[in-house]
């Protein structure tokens, strides 16, 4: 182990989670790399009450898209290619995490100059495979619930372990 690593390991405030880049949230309010999938929630273009749950699976690159009520996405008959919701998901994931992190998580081999979600989707060769929408949707609701919790003016000394770091600018 080199000296730099050992000094890093003996620090209390190092960055562990890579920063997330800002992006527009209107079309794809939720994206995550979790449960072995790139998964997220895509707002319907036509019905404000409806959302789609879309995902790509790590390794197999199987993809899935359905409404939050678990009805299959109409634009995704079996044997076809990924629908526009999946394309939007990939595009926003690349904006949020950077293409390298998404490709590494999904285990996709991308060209060195690949930069967009479309190129990421193009580099995958999976099949349609229904993934459960309910779990992802409930994780999205849990995510939204953070904004419903009131703030507090009682200090949280533990936050000194989590300094705001400005590397994304």
């Amino acid at each position: 182990m080199n000296a730099e690593t050992s000094a890093w390991e003996r620090r209390s405030t190092v960055r562990v989670v890579p920063p997330v880049r800002p992006r527009k949230l209107a079309k794809v309010p939720f994206v995550e790399l979790a449960d072995g999938r790139l998964q997220g929630v895509v707002s319907s273009g036509s019905d404000i009450e409806r959302v789609y749950v879309s995902s790509f699976t790590t390794g197999t690159h199987a993809y899935s898209c359905s409404t939050n009520n678990n009805r299959p996405c109409g634009a995704l008959p079996s044997g076809s290619s990924p629908c526009k919701h999946l394309h939007l998901l990939a595009t926003e994931a690349v904006l949020q995490y950077g293409i390298d992190r998404v490709a590494r998580y999904l285990r996709v081999d991308i060209d060195d100059d690949a930069a967009t979600g479309a190129e990421l989707v193009h580099s995958m060769n999976g099949q349609v495979e229904r993934a459960p929408a309910a779990t992802v949707f409930s994780r999205f609701l849990r995510h939204l619930n953070y904004l419903e919790i009131p703030d507090t003016t009682t200090p949280i000394p533990e936050m000194h372990w989590f300094p705001a770091l400005g590397a994304t600018r």
């Binding site: 003016t153 200090p155 936050m159 705001a164 770091l165």
Partner: protein
């Protein structure tokens, strides 16, 4: 801070600190590999930690805990005792460091007086859930933590977040769980934040002891007077943001000025970053307005904790006259009384003493910025510039005066800038972390924000539509 203060601060190592941190490193290494397969070396490390505590109140129990764990029996109680021991070592390191810093700055600090502990929040089953998760983490070791073990905390964290009295524990566990999740598979990680995760684990275990945590900040008084802002420190992880305003309080009716802090913490999600963070704190417009407009505040009957923290009530504050934080630092900082640190909070990570530094030469070398102050080098932590404010490493490197916080980590002192006066293209520029509290003022940033849309509003709309039906 003058050159003479800095040379006193940097004047050689502090006795005992290195030794204490070596003992801690042994314990932290045991947590990396898990207490269920300790092996001889790591068992010896636990025994050494216990040995260092032998003369103190934890002595006998720490020795017993180290022995039992080495023999393969890891009980809750043993873990709590060792966590207490690790925290006690850091408490001693904290006290030595802060003593050195106060001495170097000539800063007077009030004595800590134990206030009666608050009533227990009475959520013992939730706290037991925390302890049991922390227990499993310790058994598995960081290297053995997998996705299922991380997810096992989800429900507990969700329940903790709903209890205002347990917010500290909730925010801490949520931050730790997010890091473990993002790091997985941990077994193959090249390097592992061993000190950091052991810190978080230790604090979480102390906070989740049954009843109210002993030695946490307690209400001490209510105060009124004029509040002169020095700057704002910003803390952030994926699901929480906290601002901590450092200020000098001139008490109504006279008396010694004191250093105080006012904090606001709000839950958030990972996609809310940059200047949008301020919108999560919008229910405190008087405080945010004073930050953005560089004004003093007149406060009336605000509760003050024995840690020097105001429990902010925006409706008990009024915007006052314009007040330049650099002037406040020049004129008032030297004579202000610093608050005592409650026992539970004594960890070097919390050291954040406001200072004014000027008359230096800033140099940049491979992204590292250093202030040369009378021949002494002061490291500047330019990573620690929040994206919700206008400070950049370039601006700090071009600066001639800086209000900042002195911090200590990884064996060295560093300055965290909160505000700078700089020369850019031969024109004087001043920038404070809180300048954008009411929205960005830089046209470039305003344009980018307008293009990205209001992320907070978008998610609140989605929450309104999807959560309440």
């Amino acid at each position: 801070m003058l050159a003479v203060n800095l040379s006193e601060l940097l004047d050689g190592p502090l006795p005992g600190v290195e030794e204490a941190l070596d003992l801690v490193a042994g314990f932290d290494d045991a947590l990396v590999h898990g207490l269920s397969r300790l092996g001889e070396d790591r068992a010896a490390a636990l025994a050494a930690l216990a040995g260092a505590l032998a003369a103190g109140p934890l002595g006998v129990r720490a020795g017993e805990a180290a022995e039992k764990i080495a023999a393969g029996s890891v009980a809750d109680e043993h873990l709590s005792v060792l966590a207490g021991g690790r925290a006690a070592l850091f408490g001693a390191v904290h006290d030595a460091l802060l003593g050195r810093l106060d001495g170097a700055l000539g800063r007077a600090r009030g004595p800590w007086e134990a206030s009666p502990s608050a009533a227990s929040p009475g959520a013992d089953n939730l706290l037991a859930g925390c302890r049991s998760w922390l227990h499993e983490l310790a058994i598995a070791g960081w290297r053995g933590v997998d996705h299922d073990l991380v997810s096992a905390a989800d429900q507990t964290i969700e329940a903790l977040l709903a209890v205002p009295e347990l917010r500290r524990t909730a925010v801490l566990l949520d931050g730790l769980a997010a890091e473990l999740r993002a790091s997985s598979p941990i077994a193959t990680m090249e390097r592992l934040p061993a000190r950091r995760w052991a810190d978080l684990w230790t604090r979480a275990l102390l906070l989740s002891q049954p009843g109210a945590p002993a030695g946490a900040p307690q209400p001490a008084a209510t105060v009124s007077g004029r509040l002169l802002i020095l700057g704002v420190d910003v803390h952030e992880h994926a699901t929480a943001v906290q601002i901590q305003v450092h200020a000098v309080l001139e008490p109504a009716g006279g008396g010694t000025s004191r250093l105080v802090r006012a904090s606001v913490a709000a839950p958030k999600v990972d996609t809310i970053v940059g200047p949008a963070l301020w919108r999560l704190l919008q229910w405190h417009p008087v405080l945010l307005g004073a930050l953005a407009e560089h004004r003093s505040l007149d406060i009336t009957d605000q509760p003050l904790l024995d840690s020097g923290d105001l429990v902010w009530h925006d409706d008990r504050a009024e915007a006052g006259e314009p007040a330049d934080p650099f002037t406040t630092a020049r004129v008032l900082l030297g004579g202000a009384l610093a608050p005592a640190v409650p026992p539970l909070d004594r960890h070097p990570v919390r050291i954040s003493e406001p200072v004014l530094v000027e008359g230096y030469t800033a140099t940049t070398d491979g992204g590292e910025v250093t202030f040369d102050l009378g021949g002494q080098a002061l490291a500047v932590d330019v990573e620690r510039l929040p994206s919700c404010g206008p400070l950049t490493p370039e601006l700090v490197a071009a600066s001639t005066a800086c209000v900042g916080l002195v911090r200590w980590d990884g064996g060295r002192w560093a300055l965290q800038p909160l505000a700078v006066q700089a020369m850019v293209k031969r024109k004087p520029v001043t920038a404070h972390n809180g300048d954008w509290a009411l929205g960005p003022t830089d046209p470039k940033v305003m344009k980018a924000e307008a293009k990205a849309g209001d992320s907070v509003a978008v998610l609140r709309e989605r929450a309104g539509r999807l959560l309440r039906r």
